[in-house]
């Protein structure tokens, strides 16, 4: 009466011998068990997919983002006198309320005069370490693997496969703005 294996597909073999003692003929029992098993599988399958949609969706959401870059203020152009290369700090437009210090970011602004600028990422084109500017030798040097760049951002020596990454820039009513948001990298890098 209280057979724990009654509804379980594993009982198919073992249950056959005892089938005669049951009210229902063996074929009907098998059909019912098969039907329930099918329903169970379908329900669990549908449920699993429904759970998976938000799980996978959340996990992979960052990969589906379109270009996160937005125009970001660096301050009045007077802060960047002609002939200088200066570190400019800004808050990343992509930051979340709990990002703390990591919402901040920095870039190198080279002012070439006549309203022309070059804005370089601090991240070395090799593996992203922060490069430092040396005014006297007019070089950027990286502390990690020894990448060196000239003042125009082009590669001077070391392992970097290319020059420094640059940000798009514009001057709006006397203020320098750059197109920031994404951590610069070899892909999509400019």
């Amino acid at each position: 009466m209280n057979d724990p294996c009654r509804d379980c597909p594993c009982a198919e073999g073992g249950g056959a011998g005892r089938a005669s003692s049951r009210a229902a003929p063996p074929a009907a029992g098998r059909n019912r068990r098969g039907f329930l098993f099918g329903i169970g599988t379908a329900l669990m399958g549908v449920g699993g997919v429904l759970v998976a949609i938000p799980v996978v969706g959340t996990l992979f959401a960052p990969a589906r983002r379109s270009n996160p870059n937005r125009w970001t203020d660096l301050g009045p152009v007077e802060q960047f006198p002609e002939g200088t290369t200066r570190l400019a700090k800004f808050t990343n437009p992509e930051h979340a309320p709990t990002d703390g210090e990591t919402s901040r970011d920095a870039c190198w602004v080279r002012s070439m005069g006549e309203g022309k600028f070059q804005v370089f990422a601090v991240n070395c084109a090799h593996l992203g370490c922060p490069v430092r500017w040396f005014e006297q030798s007019r070089l950027f040097m990286c502390p990690c693997h020894g990448g060196v760049y000239y003042e125009d951002g082009s590669r001077a020596s070391g392992p970097p496969p290319r020059g420094l990454f640059t940000y798009g820039w514009r001057v709006v009513s006397g203020r320098l703005e750059i197109e920031a948001g994404r951590l610069p990298g070899l892909q999509e890098g400019t």
Binding site: E94, G100, E101, C129, S137, M141, H145, L183
Partner: protein
């Protein structure tokens, strides 16, 4: 004590605990399994310590990018014994990685991965991956400058995967930048996913060890033949083996106890690791370095030629991992003794030496410019004594133009470029001028930065850099101090102006 005996009997009857654990504890192991066999147990012991201290730290640490750093400082400075818990967690993680590597080496050298223990080895390789992943994600938990820029290096590597690098990087970082979402992802990996996986794999590893028994010490001539191995092993272990507990376990206990005390001593003496500087990306005066178990990768990234870097970075690790995983399938029989497998031993020694050398290079990082050498590394007096004003001007210029960041003089300065102590014995005047102006051989060109007069002064100084007792004329290619070149002006007051005067 009757109540105690009755309680034990009751518990035994209801749970069957000793019937379950007894055979495991007393299963017979080969008599030859002695001190070589303690490293796996030590790895497991340190993992258990990681779980205990890790859970404790999870009650104190705040996994938010805005607060993680402060919470670590709080644990170190305010929580009673907090610094010690962090120190134990950090030192025990190092010990776990170290013991895991020694255990792996022993199993590899003794070919214990051969039939029938192939799957035990494969699970072990997966455990190695988990351990290293726990170590890397643990470094991220420190959320200091090293963690931030270490993630940057990781992101830059992932970014190089062709086609999907961009997407992979976004999934790894949890967004377009290294920030709060990144820490949360790595926190979930470090405290849920990886430990869960590791516990499951450790269980499987131990189950397989019980199933196949511990391998015997290899002896030359005793080959593994799958057709006859199992019955012969069973017979030998039954005849000459000893029970695991206490006969074999006592060595494990002694070694684990000593290792534990040593680790605790190191933790108490040296304290916790970090946190280093605040993870503020705008603080660029930083010198990011990974923890010791990843220093070799850091070094390889500096020394690999750029053309092969990306392919090696992306193809290398999976191929190495697959090779390690599938090793026992290609070599499941035959000799186990290291003396009969010389090629394997040579390969092992080469790999260990390579990793050791790369790690050591990672500590000294000779390829990196020494960022403050131009202001901190003074020229030793003997290199400026008795020099002419022009040469002294050159020495000043050399210092000012950050040449010392890459070039050591008198043993101080960067090591990226050659030492300049005796540069005049290696390069002629014209070669020096060309090298400075055009660069080459990993040196930037200074033609646009330095005026020809400044270059002239630097070369005049460099021309004096040769061992004092060696006259220039006896050195092939050395600089002749001919008139009109670098002749000191006061020596020939009537001579015509130098050919390359100041501009």
């Amino acid at each position: 004590m009757r109540w105690w005996r009755r309680a034990r009997a009751w518990f035994e009857d209801r749970s069957g605990a000793s019937a379950l654990i007894g055979p495991v504890m007393t299963h017979r192991v080969p008599r030859s399994a002695k001190w070589w066999y303690v490293f796996g147990s030590a790895t497991l012991m340190f993992f258990v310590i990681q779980i205990v201290t890790g859970i404790l730290l999870a009650t104190l640490y705040v996994p938010s990018a805005a607060e993680a750093y402060d919470s670590l400082r709080y644990i170190d400075e305010q929580v009673p014994f907090g610094w010690m818990v962090r120190a134990i967690h950090g030192w025990s993680s190092n010990a776990m990685v170290l013991m895991m590597l020694v255990h792996l080496s022993q199993v590899f050298l003794h070919a214990a991965y051969k039939y029938p223990r192939e799957l035990t080895w494969m699970v072990g390789v997966l455990l190695m991956v988990c351990t290293l992943a726990l170590a890397f994600t643990g470094q991220v938990m420190r959320w200091d400058q090293d963690a931030y820029w270490g993630l940057g290096i990781g992101a830059a590597i992932v970014d190089r995967v062709p086609g999907v690098g961009n997407e992979l990087r976004a999934i790894m970082l949890g967004g377009p930048i290294i920030a709060g979402a990144t820490l949360s992802r790595f926190f979930a990996l470090h405290v849920f996913i990886l430990p869960g996986l590791t516990i499951a794999l450790v269980g499987l590893h131990l189950m397989l060890i019980l199933r196949h028994g511990i391998s015997e010490m290899p002896r030359p001539g005793e080959t593994v033949e799958p057709a006859t191995y199992k019955p012969a092993y069973e017979e030998r272990v039954h005849r000459t083996g000893v029970p695991f507990f206490p006969d074999a376990a006592q060595r494990d206990m002694v070694f684990c106890g000593l290792a534990l005390l040593l680790m605790l001593g190191l933790a108490a003496w040296f304290g916790p690791f970090g946190p280093g500087g605040v993870p503020d990306p705008t603080i660029i005066d930083t010198n990011p370095r990974p923890d010791f178990f990843f220093l070799w990768i850091f070094s390889a990234l500096a020394l690999l030629p750029p053309e092969v870097e990306t392919p090696l970075l992306i193809i290398g690790p999976p191929v190495l991992l697959l090779g390690l995983l599938l090793l026992p399938l290609f070599s499941s029989r035959g000799e186990r003794a290291p003396s009969r497998r010389p090629l394997v031993v040579v390969l092992f020694v080469v790999v260990v030496m390579m990793l050791g050398t790369l790690s050591w290079l990672g500590v000294t990082s000779p390829w990196s410019p020494q960022m403050d050498a131009w202001t901190s590394a003074a020229l030793p007096p003997e290199f400026v004594r008795g020099r002419t004003p022009l040469e002294l001007q050159g020495a000043t210029m050399l210092q000012f133009a950050q040449c010392r960041n890459c070039h050591a003089i008198g043993g101080v300065g960067g090591e990226r470029g050659p030492r300049l102590d005796d540069v005049a014995t290696r390069l002629s005047w014209d070669q020096l001028v060309r090298q400075i102006q055009q660069g080459g051989g990993n040196m930037p060109a200074y033609g646009k930065t330095l005026s020809s007069a400044q270059t002239e002064a630097i070369v005049a100084f460099l021309a004096t850099l040769r061992p004092d007792h060696v006259p220039a004329s006896s050195i092939p290619g050395a600089i002749e101090r001919s008139s009109g070149r670098d002749q000191p002006p006061e020596a020939t007051p009537d001579a015509p102006a130098p050919a390359r005067g100041f501009r």
